[in-house]
Symmetry: C2
Subunit: 406 residues, 2 copies
Amino acid sequence: MSSLEIAAPRDHAQWLDANDPLGEYRERFLLPEGVIYLDGNSLGALPRATLDRLHEVVARQWGDRMIRAWDEGWLEQPLEVGARLGPLLGAAPGEVVFGESTTVCFYKLACAALQLRAGRRRIVTDLDNFPTDRYALEGIARARGAELEWLRCDRVLGPCTDDVAAVIDADTALVTFSHVSYRSAAVADMAEINRMAHDAGALTLWDLSHSAGSVPVALDEDGADLAVGCTYKYLNGGPGAPAYMYVSSELLGEIDQPIWGWLGRREPFAMEQGYVPANNIRRVLSGTPPVLALAAVDEGVRLVAEAGMERIHAKAMALTDFGIALVEVRLGELGFSIASPRDRLRRGAHLAVVHRDAHELCAALIERDVIVDFRRPDVIRIGLSPLTTRFVDVWDAVEVLRTLVA
Amino acid sequence: MSSLEIAAPRDHAQWLDANDPLGEYRERFLLPEGVIYLDGNSLGALPRATLDRLHEVVARQWGDRMIRAWDEGWLEQPLEVGARLGPLLGAAPGEVVFGESTTVCFYKLACAALQLRAGRRRIVTDLDNFPTDRYALEGIARARGAELEWLRCDRVLGPCTDDVAAVIDADTALVTFSHVSYRSAAVADMAEINRMAHDAGALTLWDLSHSAGSVPVALDEDGADLAVGCTYKYLNGGPGAPAYMYVSSELLGEIDQPIWGWLGRREPFAMEQGYVPANNIRRVLSGTPPVLALAAVDEGVRLVAEAGMERIHAKAMALTDFGIALVEVRLGELGFSIASPRDRLRRGAHLAVVHRDAHELCAALIERDVIVDFRRPDVIRIGLSPLTTRFVDVWDAVEVLRTLVA
């Protein structure tokens, strides 16, 4: 796209929308009138199907079948929704299961990794990793006497493989990063980092919260060991929706997580003495699955699966390309710049737009019903969730910003 | 109640229902036609208000306000619903908060207790404690090199204070029991066990899953340190609903749980480096709260609060009295007996009915739409949730049992 095209009036954005192969998907969501929603990477929109599905699970299953519904599907739900999500992450059947919050899932798998590499003391991550991951690792390191190696990454490009290589050694138990940076949207080189970790005998744990439903993920092919991710962003699972865990089939036989509970036990309802982990991925589960919330997640995952990751990723690249061009051409002289990767293949579906007055501008945008996120110290984060964002939304948001500053 | 009365025809049960001060509450729930539901202690029924509330939180809040709803109430929800539940547990404001599953909540507070009593190595519990609690303790003991002391309790009466006293010593860090036994419904002597634990310098952790919404709980008055409980039983919060944690105000300043995450940090959205626990009960939280599920829990808690624990407990005692009398008089000669405490003040809201063929009888009851639970090896567990169970339900269920065996 040339700067001539994007400097053209709003018609161009409308043309892009009219020719968008995913254009019809926006109608599958309930979106408020008059709002430009550019925060689908914080909380994805509400799929229309979710309302009916929740009514079905509440009124028909809970209300009518009551306790009998456990045998009629609820018990298998964490694996079934996991099986539906798996292909979107490049995971084989039986490698993905739904647990509690992302933080709890991350905690469990990070502890499991340390257990599997019991002789080693070091954990590698980066200072820009998502806060809850960093905090969880601090707690684990303190409790287990592990040592955290904090990489200082490039603000735009995220963890650089040379830097990662430089700190992994024979004492490294775990290497863990976000696959897509929550701030810059940089995509980490998963295959290369897995290879480097494995060469040193370490395990990897990926946070896919900003990846699932926005960029291709190939966990098996890229040799990942463990992964977790949230479902209320691009998977549109609803506020505080449950998270998922991935365990490579190679580790399934030996993995041992710290929160032993009845749903992770062989024959959970036998209620017998002595914990014996289930012989499949159930062994990473702990408590009773969150049935209502998982039904909502299922609808979000179904929509993404139906739209297809290839088309979703293509639109993510087109939307972010369009956004970058608009910011540079129409806002470049007003003190704005982009702190997301230029290479569309190394970029997720959001943009970090930098401005000295980002904090005030975010507040002003939200007041005008342009919903974005502020990220300290100077980032306006613009989420371009491919199933719900139109090119005109990007155009209009940039125009509002221009008016605010000009 | 004399055996004459209860041997009378079904009219007596109908009279009791007609004169039940809580009789109108049954209409506040959606219950399937033609089903005698005696499993509200596994999964409570669906409050009518919950359907509307879920539609409100999904369509109006998630769908319409989207990310803005976090500032408009969602963030405070775990504390607000906790504040509504607190009085039902005898907890002061700020001592109860909602987390993830009961298993995860139990794990966090058990680890926190060991941390607070770091010099001590022993954990006291009982072999009849609810399975997930037992499994969680085994995992914790293994990871931390702690030692589990398993009490063998009376099958009917639960943990006997003399037995507990005999095993608590200066090396005991934690004493943990279910307040109401999931099998026999025995109520443990919370005040006395707390006193004995404190005399030895140990802490207590109570599982209130079968207590909340069925029997009086006086955490503060009885000197409890920590407690957790599930909300999908007598609190009618829905399948897999989130659990709550109680931390005595005396421990709030020093408690430190293992799963550090952004929602437990001071200023969670500052996303700063370094975990610093919040200075209130938020510090036991980890991940993003399950917003949809918590809205459902709130409706269940509101109903129980409105009905009042005194009336609920009075009805629980009356229902279980009635059930015991019916089983003894009408089923006594058919090989049935009661394995729940005779003393109504030491009994929860369910009954353990023992029969050699319990397993087959449970299946036959369920086939006839009398929904009960089987508990190994020989218990038909009959839950008499006070807000939804009628005296005629108990009468009719006993009659079905009698027909099956006679």
